[in-house]
């Protein structure tokens, strides 16, 4: 299997690494769902069978989440000051294989939140056919990295989360959300 990833200087990078968080615009319309990231499946994401390897679906969703973090106000400077959003769980669903050079469009829906946790749902669709390729459900936790424990989001960032959730309140909850992995035996 191939384990080459989008790497620069021999490590994992994201397309927006180093980009400062956006200034929040109270007047801007919040997309439902958010459409923050698209990409084209690169050669280094292909496995021995010339299909995109599983971890690279997570890289693509991670890149979309990274844009989301910058959208609400979390960038490298925020993390360097001692707080971050950590991924607690990711449940990935594969629907279609992805070949080299296929365009991929990611959407992101905020399902739920409290003061320190975010429940997200991502979809990946083929950029031309619109066909559903993969989905990911994630639970993220805001942490105080020095103390090594979870902590409430600061007021301004929390206000952005509340605004996004209000914009997403009318979206239906996708069928896979909340479901565990299981084999349904028919006999």
């Amino acid at each position: 299997m191939s384990n080459e990833q989008a790497s620069s200087g021999g490590r994992v990078t994201t397309p927006n690494e180093g980009r400062r968080a956006d200034a929040w615009d109270d007047q801007a319309v919040i997309e439902a769902p958010l459409r923050l990231h698209q990409t084209v499946a690169p050669p280094e994401w292909m496995d021995y069978n010339d299909h995109m390897s599983e971890s690279c679906f997570l890289l693509a969703f991670g890149d979309s989440a990274d844009v989301f973090f910058r959208y609400i106000g979390i960038d490298e400077a925020y993390r360097a000051a001692g707080h971050s959003l950590y991924t607690s769980q990711t449940h990935l669903h594969h629907r279609q294989e992805v070949a080299l050079g296929e365009p991929l469009v990611m959407t992101l829906q905020l399902l739920d939140h409290d003061r320190r946790r975010l429940h997200l749902y991502h979809e990946m669709r083929h950029g031309e056919t619109g066909e559903l390729v993969a989905m990911a459900e994630q639970l993220l936790v805001h942490v105080d990295t020095d103390a090594g424990r979870s902590s409430d989001l600061p007021g301004d960032l929390y206000a952005h989360v509340v605004a996004i959730r209000a914009a997403h309140a009318g979206l239906p909850t996708p069928a896979v959300v909340g479901h565990p992995i299981a084999i349904r035996h028919t006999r």
Partner: protein, 167 residues
Amino acid sequence: MSDPTTTVPSAATGAPFTAYREEVRPEWLDYNGHLNDASYAIVLTRAHELLLEHLGLSAAYRESHGASMFTVEMHLRYVAEVSAGQTLTASTLVVDADHKRLRLHSELYADGVPAATGECLYLHVDTAAGRTAPLPDDRQAAVDALREAHAGLPRPAHLGLGVGARP
């Protein structure tokens, strides 16, 4: 023979599959020097590939039989950060299986400390026809043997719970 009253896994009741062991690779780290979220999936996949190889269902099987185990779902629970130089190991259970599906769960460790858990659902696919197919008899026998060997082992409390649900 094992004492049937003991709860400690023995050769008679089976033991988790623990063949995986390797050092963290630099290309798996992110800007912070920690194992990237997506790289946990690489580690899980590599650990599970060894179990699939043990069952005769690895990459070589794809070549010889024109069929493959396709990952349809993966559920990762992140427990701890992992850094360069640490040694990764895994303890894997066959949780469930039928004639074309296989469910595996692994505990992943870094230097012996829990780092994450990962569960995968695999579907046996005829790659030429592009659809699911029953496992060949010999592979089914291997899957059933390991599933039965693992049936009496302790299960993690989070099995059967979706994202966000607590045991």
